[in-house]
Amino acid sequence: MAKEKKGVRLEHISKIYKDPKTGKNFYAVKDANLEIEPGSFVTLLGPSGCGKTTTLRMIAGFESPDEGEIYLGNEPINALTPNKRDTAMVFQSYALLPHYNIFDNVAYGLKLRKMDKAEIKKKVTDILGLVGLEGMENRMTNQLSGGQQQRVALARALVIEPGVLLFDEPLSNLDAKLRVSMRTEIRRIQQEAGITAIYVTHDQSEAMAISDKVIIMNKGLVEQISTPQDAYYYPNNRFVADFIGEANFLDATVEGQDMVNINGSKVKCATGSFAVGNKCSVVLRPEGASLSENGALKVKVAYSCFMGSYQDYHVKVGDTLVKIQDYNPKNSKIYKVGDEAYLNFAENTLYAL
């Protein structure tokens, strides 16, 4: 639907803010280099205060970067005001114009583009169909539910056929169930419209579900840019491993190619570029191991709780507490607090950092 899919490139982008308490300058975003492919769905992911929203607002033009240049397509856009940029944003609070009805809200951007009435009407009707709000043109915004308001916000952004669609935590005001169905919906609509989308969220499962690529940020720095799978299986560092999903970190020494020593036991583990004798941290996802009578690593059970789909264990490897989720506990032995057991790792689950 979009006239032209546009990519976005950030070159050495930094944003400096003044801390109102100390009066000192600090980097809200530091030296971000991003390349967002035309037509892809990319998520800026990170805890609050990591600079993701600032980055998005710099792309939209509400904030100006202190270093570096932003390109939309091949055009540098640093000096352009938000209204001159080929971007459209979906806001966290929806930001619908409360004095207009749904039709006028969606038509707002088209009217500014001096389109003729018949064409506006057709486009608005089409787009409301796409987001599943046909027939609601005359409602006022406060007559809609949160989910419906979010669809209007999305329709309003889509209808002007922007080169890039920006989402600022669009689902955080919705309840958990609606969040899940809306994110599927957003992904479907983005694919159907074939539009480049940049999405900000602090919810890692939302990011995983929706994106072609995730950009994980922490304290103003870009920590990793990869597919959601790679971020989960091959995190660049401890922060990413911990932020994406749950992770246990086990101290280990590299013993050979793809072989480490954890607490005296030899375990298979992807060691990457680590040399023999190096110290490393082994990342273990809770679902990556199970307990049994014999196996690779001897542990002691410190906590055991039935959760329905899995048995939740905290076990001690030496002095380190490790969280394990043993799925389908019905078919295996349930260990109690104080029991001794062995950890068995599934294939390809351990990754050295």
């Binding site: 944003k15 400096i16 003044k18 300058n25 600090f26 980097y27 939209a60 033009g61 509400f62 904030e63 100006s64 970067p65 202190d66 270093e67 640093n78 000096a79 352009l80 005001t81 938000p82 209204n83 001159k84 971007t87 459209a88 944003m89 806001f91 966290q92 609070s93 930001a95 619908l96 114009l97 409360p98 004095h99 707002y108 951007g109 500014l112 583009r113 006022m140 406060n142 916000a153 309003r156 002007i160």
Partner: protein
């Protein structure tokens, strides 16, 4: 780590919006010429003599016993009025927020009291004070048989000003009390404190900065007040009247300028303390919203005396207002109580009443939309945009609140009678209706801006950002989004400014020329002469006009306002 690139980009973006830039520049020019410059010229006048910088003028005016007396008089009145208004205001606010009012009648009384400061012309209470308690006063002479009571002087001014200004305190304190979380007081009660103890140890400390704030606001109003001391002051001169007499009686422009500087210094000091210290403090302690409804006091030993006290005060104030139309209907106040329309007749025949109402009405009607629009634009810029000079715009438009009308009037005389800095530029303005309109605008700008700012702060900033993001430039965002969302505030700014203008006197009386007849100036003139019948007839019609405008505004807001179908996001 320098923020230079973002600053230069922000500047570039701003420049990319020519309408916005033009607006900002024009605003700065307007504020500089019509607020800052007239005040600056007063300083120039009073500090620069023939031989350069000098304190001679000040030495001279400080040598005048009249002037020294006026300073102490003013401060004394201001202090007493400030305290009395704050206490009465607190009483009303407390009764409304904490005490169960049995009857609709009481609710009605409170509403009337809160409306009064909006619709009341400045000197109405002075008039009725004289008519009720003066030598020929109904109460003093006919009820009490006192023949030589003098209402003129310190007590006259103090009582009249207190009754005029306490509703302002009441409205301010009501807002504060409303925001106190009732559970704080309930906790104290629960731990065994008596109601009085709770008031002294919880409620009072919480609103203490607010009380200080209310005190200073009234203090400033009191010492800036011109109309009441003029009519009821008698020989008890305050700064505002002394300055007026210095220029109209003694033709001493330099001396008046120096006196104006003294008055301005006092009000500015108060204003700075109030605005930048107390106002912040008073809202900071009470930011939280009340978690639930407060349990109102129903204990008769508390409700009955408080209710009686409030009703008595409220009824007294209302009585004073009612006295004005009657003053216009009696043949001769104090002697002949036959009803007559003679005064109203005289107003329109002999005293060119029609022209006076037309001039006042038209000038105020021109000033009102300008003020309303200007204050909405200023609020929008202050709340929603970032740019250099924003602090200047906000500070100067608020500063106008601290400038007494008399001071502004002298500033305009000195600043524009010979053109800007005596150069002849803008000299054409002087003596015209334009300058009167400008004075009206400047005088009402702070109130309008304040209400605009608080209305805009409640609107989620992303609503405007979304429009901006969709491709609208600043002008369109303002017209299609901001203005419709603060329509109510715009309307009330319009009416408030209209009412304030049509009832204004302090600055205007110094600037008006014989080609314009203004109602307030007429009232003042006739009241001075002792022609209370005529003065009351003018005042009655004026009250009808202002009250009518407020009713009309409420009607319009109720039926066409934004709040009807728009729920502004908190």
């Amino acid at each position: 780590m320098a923020k230079s690139q973002s600053a230069s980009l922000d500047r570039k973006k701003l420049m990319g919006d020519p309408i916005l830039v033009t607006t900002i520049v024009l605003l700065i020019v307007f504020l500089t010429i019509f607020i800052l410059y007239p005040l600056a010229i007063l300083l120039v006048d009073s500090f620069i003599g023939e031989g350069g910088l000098t304190l001679d003028v000040f030495r001279r005016i400080m040598g005048l016993p009249n002037f020294r007396k006026a300073i102490t008089n003013t401060l004394k009145v201001g202090f007493v009025v400030g305290i009395a208004s704050t206490l009465i205001g607190l009483l009303f606010a407390y009764v409304e927020e904490y005490v169960k009012l049995r009857t609709k009648f009481m609710g009605g009384l409170f509403k009337v009291v809160s409306m009064l400061p909006v619709v009341s012309p400045p000197f109405v209470l002075s008039l009725s004070m004289i008519m009720l308690f003066g030598k020929a006063g109904i109460i003093t002479r006919f009820l009490l048989g006192i023949y030589d009571n003098s209402v003129y002087g310190f007590w006259g001014i103090t009582i009249v000003q207190t009754l005029t200004f306490f509703p302002v305190c009441y409205m301010m304190l009501k807002g504060l009390l409303k925001n106190i979380d009732p559970s704080l007081e309930e906790a104290a009660r629960d731990m065994g404190a008596s109601r009085f103890k709770v008031f002294m140890t919880v409620t009072l400390p919480l609103i203490l900065p607010g009380l200080g704030n209310a005190f200073l606001v009234t203090f400033i109003e009191s010492i800036a007040d011109f109309a009441n001391p003029m009519i009821i002051g008698g020989s008890y001169d305050t700064l505002a009247t002394t300055i007026y007499l210095q220029i109209t009686g003694a033709y001493d422009k330099q001396g008046a300028a120096a006196m104006a500087v003294v008055l301005l210094t006092i009000t500015l000091l108060m204003f700075v303390v109030q605005k930048y210290y107390l106002e912040r403090k008073s809202t900071a302690t009470l930011s939280g919203k009340a978690s639930r409804e407060r349990m109102l006091i129903t204990d008769k030993s508390v409700t009955v005396p408080l209710t009686i006290l409030c009703s008595a005060l409220a009824l007294f104030v209302i009585l004073m207002y009612i006295c004005v139309p009657f003053g216009a209907l009696f043949k001769t106040w104090g002697y002949d109580f036959h009803l007559t329309f003679k005064w109203f007749g005289l107003v329109f025949t002999k005293y060119k009443g029609f022209k006076a109402f037309r001039d006042s009405f038209i000038l105020s009607l021109i000033a009102a939309p300008i003020t309303a629009l200007l204050s909405m634009i200023i609020s929008y810029l202050v709340v929603k945009r970032k740019f250099k000079g924003k602090g200047f715009i906000e500070a100067v438009s608020m500063l106008a609140m601290a400038v007494p009308g008399t001071v502004l009037g002298i500033g305009y005389i000195r600043g524009f009678s010979g053109g800007i800095f005596g150069s002849g530029i803008l000299q054409g303005l002087y003596g015209t209706g334009v300058i009167l309109v400008i004075v009206f605008v400047v005088r009402s700008l702070p109130t309008g801006t304040r209400s605009g700012i608080s209305a805009l702060r409640q609107i989620d900033k992303s609503i405007e950002e979304s429009a901006y993001d969709m491709g609208a430039d600043s002008f369109r965002v303002f017209v299609t989004v901001t203005l419709p969302l603060i329509k109510d505030s715009f309307l009330s700014g319009f009416v408030t400014s209209f009412v304030r203008s049509i009832t204004a006197i302090s600055a205007i009386i110094l600037l008006v020329t014989p080609s314009y007849l203004l109602i307030t100036v007429q009232i003042n003139e006739f009241a001075e002469k002792g022609s209370y019948g005529i003065a009351c007839a003018f005042a009655t019609i004026l009250i009808v006009i202002t009250y009518g405008s407020v009713l009309l505004m409420n009607f319009v807001i109720k039926h066409f306002g934004t709040s009807r179908h728009v729920k502004v996001e908190e």
